[in-house]
Symmetry: C2
Subunit: 329 residues, 2 copies
Amino acid sequence: MTAAPMIEFWRGGMLESFHSGHAVVFGPDGIEAAWGDPEAVIFPRSSVKMIQALPLVESGAADAAGLSERQLAFACASHSGAALHRDAAAEWLSGLGMHEEDLRCGVHMPWDAEEKTRLVCSHEAPCQLHNNCSGKHVGFLTLNRHLRGGSEYVEVTHPLQQTIKTVFEEVTDVTSPGFGIDGCSAPNFATTVTGLARAMQLFAAANPEGSTRERAAARLTQAMATFPEMVANDGRACTELMRAMGGKVAVKTGAEAVYIAILPEQKRGIALKIVDGATRAAEAAITALLIRQGVLDRNHPTVETWLTGAQKNWRGIVTGEIRLAPGFG
Amino acid sequence: MTAAPMIEFWRGGMLESFHSGHAVVFGPDGIEAAWGDPEAVIFPRSSVKMIQALPLVESGAADAAGLSERQLAFACASHSGAALHRDAAAEWLSGLGMHEEDLRCGVHMPWDAEEKTRLVCSHEAPCQLHNNCSGKHVGFLTLNRHLRGGSEYVEVTHPLQQTIKTVFEEVTDVTSPGFGIDGCSAPNFATTVTGLARAMQLFAAANPEGSTRERAAARLTQAMATFPEMVANDGRACTELMRAMGGKVAVKTGAEAVYIAILPEQKRGIALKIVDGATRAAEAAITALLIRQGVLDRNHPTVETWLTGAQKNWRGIVTGEIRLAPGFG
């Protein structure tokens, strides 16, 4: 089954560009709504950081290290490398008695404008603390110490990654057909859109007083929704959408236009992938699905940014708008 | 007819994202090759700057103002706002006895890293000279003085824009179905992919000693191919591809993933549009078509950047590659 048209960009009353994708809304009894091909195989990329953090919590490693809910949110982040993120990574590492050099996520210039300006204008190089995945990687190091694994923790054969793979296949209920190397050098296991949505439904339905896994999943969801600034940054979709929903829903983006949502009150999970990898479309599509599910107010100001606001040019002149493709949302 | 798959992004041996589009190769006798829907209506955006500059040259306004070939290339640019572009815009304006405030392109931070750093670290604001379309706009002002039009030269009813519309419909041989407002506030007239390719064929086949229009078209093509650094910037696809082809071919990108090529030796024009608007795919697709046409050496180092090189992550680890979709290129 082919991808379904989802998001359209209009200019001057004519369709200029459009994006197609796959999406699944998964409820307690299974698939409730789907667009495109629910069985399409995708790389979930950073949308599954809460799954990668699940063994950190359910193993007891998080409690043994005395991690706060804020740190758990940070373990699920694709953050902007702003000062608060850089410092959070540094402090957590310090608490482990470890150093920036122990990370294996690599270095990139932070996305946060203020921190980037500070670095550039002071001729200071960015470091691995700025990497958008540094929170996940400090989480990896925390679990790795618990597992007593070797230092090269991103190798796919490493006990840490094999532990994550096992958990990933359990919560998706799909045997992963393979893996790719992510931007941060960790393996990223492929799954289906349905598998990803099913895993998010498991997080949504997790009883905070249930099994070890359920307690861990509920705790991670609540941590993300409670500390949205740790998951992305001011002005970014994940942070602003979670703020707009008042801590009741967790959402997470992944590179190449993946997005998930965890809706605890409805016990529903959502997963979507735009097949061309465009983040602008994934942001618009998840916004539309959150409105559809009744958890996001379509009149909330942040909705304008991702979906309903006019597209403007450098002089502030309206040039067009985003529309939902017929049959989507 | 639907868009044809063109460019694929693979990771870990699996397809992660892909891009579809429309493309036409137009020769002396008409369409020679096509993918997707040749009659798809598109906004050509900045890919048609050489058409927008055509009346500047054929009216005699360019010669009356004593414009150099380098300035003609600049009139066709989506430049990076580097120092050489900023200065070129300032000098040309000064030659007209006009000022930055006479432009109507708007202000955005330049894309050029060095100039951006200079501005940010000196707390200096960018100005309209940095706008990627400032060359086109100074060209507009030059023709506008010749036409004795009013100061609001980007209004669609302004004599300047109506002159451009007439020329645009003549060279595309398509009645434009409408227009949109571009990022730089100028009207951008819609056409078909075939219309755009036909216009590029007209440029390609233009006799440098032929009619007024032919001489103007040949001169603009040669200006772009001779001064590629004025059309984009070091390291950008238009500039590097033109350099790799040794001044024999002109290429130009447009926002939302449009690309054109003018091949004078073959008297052929190429136009393509990726329907999702992804520049990465338009760059890969035009590279593939230039190789297909035999004007770009597939072993030239710049081809790795846009098409054949391995995709790597922050630690330099190979994560995947770009592939042509079956049936394309």
